[in-house]
Amino acid sequence: MHNVPSIYGMNLLEKSMLGIIPETVIIIFAFIVLFLTFFGNLAKGKNSYYLSLIGIGFSILYVLMLSGKNIYGFYGSVVFNSFEVFLFIAILFSGLFTVLMSKDYMENSGMPAPEYYSLILFGISAMMFLVSSNNLIMIFLAIEFMSISAYILTGYIKGNTRSTEAALKYFILGAFASAFLLFGSVFIYASTGHLNLYDIHSFLGNISYAGLINKSGGIGIKIYISVGLVLFLVGLAFKMSLFPFHSWTPDAYDGAPTPITSFMATGIKIAAFAIFLRIYSLIYNFNIMNFNDILWLLAVFSMTFGNIAAILSSNIKRLLAYSSIAQAGYILIGVIGGGLYGYSGTLFYLLSYVFTTAGAFAVVVIFENSDLISLDIKRYSGIGYKYPFIAASMSFFLLSFAGIPVTSVFMGKFYVFSSAIKSGYNWLVVIALLNSAFAAFYYIKIIVKMYMPDKEPASSSLNSSSDNLGITHGVIDDGLMITIIICLILTLFMGIFPQIFINFANNSAGSLWRI
């Protein structure tokens, strides 16, 4: 279908379907993987793993084939243009890394695999639907689809009380957030009478153009839409794990299987930020109320709280969870900065965040799988000498989080902060810079720990004298190695040649306004 040169030769349905081919491919593969469970022998091996990889590969191919197209399908419910291309690729990479990390993890834990991989694929497709949705119904459905996959995956470890508890907390708070989002859409619908974002945009544009919004006739609309947008923002802030709505993040990240933690930290956050960018650029800009002030507070509190809590935590997954709350605060600065520059900086930051986070979690998976080193940071001492390559790459990812030059997150921070300065938010950038310096402390603490000689008595909680012998290098799974190497290369590449990626991000962010 993609080879058809002119889009006008197709009927409406074909044209609409063209826009959701990448998602459809993922869903088809998810069903194939799921049906493997009917055939006992096929389900046992690594078939589901390879099928998932093939599905993600096909989807990336289709995204690349469709890039440059501008599709507005299903009566405006689904949009596909360069904004989607950028975020689809980021999400597919996040899913690819999750699948690559999972093989070793699933084999070690002995859990049934096909359902697991198909849930990951369903989650990826839901995130892609969320990014391309342009209608309040689609947004709600995609968020729920994504969250339900994530709830199940979080509680996937059978018989593990921590995993179940994480799923329970994540479910209650996630459903709570969805209810807020839904109730916000009621008020948006009540004030505008539209569900399509472009229609809402033009409705608000007409009203504010006519000067009605601050006059007596418009006051009712103004109150309704303010209430609606604030409730909607609360719902999305839960998914983005911003400060007052972050409480599920450390628990869910801690209890979930580690590859899924990486999936939640990268994929869900990207998708939530993407839809927030779209809605913010379309609706929040009107002179309804000053949303930038609310976001300012959210960003400052997220950064500060995330960093302080990360310093106090001793579990590596909780530390990365708190650090992801802080990173969400930094990313939000790009949204506050606004304009083409701020939005493209946000997109760049999101992409760099994917590679850095996935790489760091891949290292955590390696150490978790080896069974010798627990998630406690104290147990990391001395691994710099035993596994030089892995420890060096972990150090690189942590330095990237801290925002040291030559890494991708440094460039992301640079673009995001400079956009905020351009818009006059100087104090925000000062606070963010102080926070980054503060955050470097705990990232570097881990690196120092890794390169310190192992002084602790090996006997304390974990058994054994074999503790210090360590695993042999051949044991490390190739999927994990591939993940780490891709993440390393791209983190470095985005840090040294950011121009290529920022041009791509500029092009994508520009298409947000192309209605």
Partner: protein
């Protein structure tokens, strides 16, 4: 339409309070359903007031999603009960710093 939205808001607040205050998992899930259904009430009222169909369509989707969520919720609750022997939410206290 205003009075319907006020009723919906009151129901939504009751649901919110229920999720925050109650300790029994099943009651928490009921409160979540209450929140979803208050939004449904709002959608139906608005769409009737504005003579539009899109709100009603939204409600049907919400009902489907709420059913799916209830299935997941009860699954998680059963697993939790098997592991802890209780459905008191305060017993979910293993994940700490």
């Amino acid at each position: 339409m205003n009075s319907y939205l006020i009723v919906a808001s009151i129901i939504f607040s009751i649901g919110t309070l229920g999720v925050i205050i109650r300790k029994n998992l099943i009651v928490v899930f009921m409160s979540l359903e209450l929140m979803f259904n208050s939004a449904n009430l709002g959608f139906v009222a608005v769409s009737n007031h504005l003579h539009l169909i899109s709100g009603d369509i939204f409600v049907i989707f919400v009902i489907v999603v709420a059913a799916a969520e209830a299935a997941i919720a009860l699954g998680i609750a059963i697993t939790f009960y098997r592991e802890k022997g209780t459905i008191d939410i305060d017993k979910a206290n293993e994940l700490k710093n």
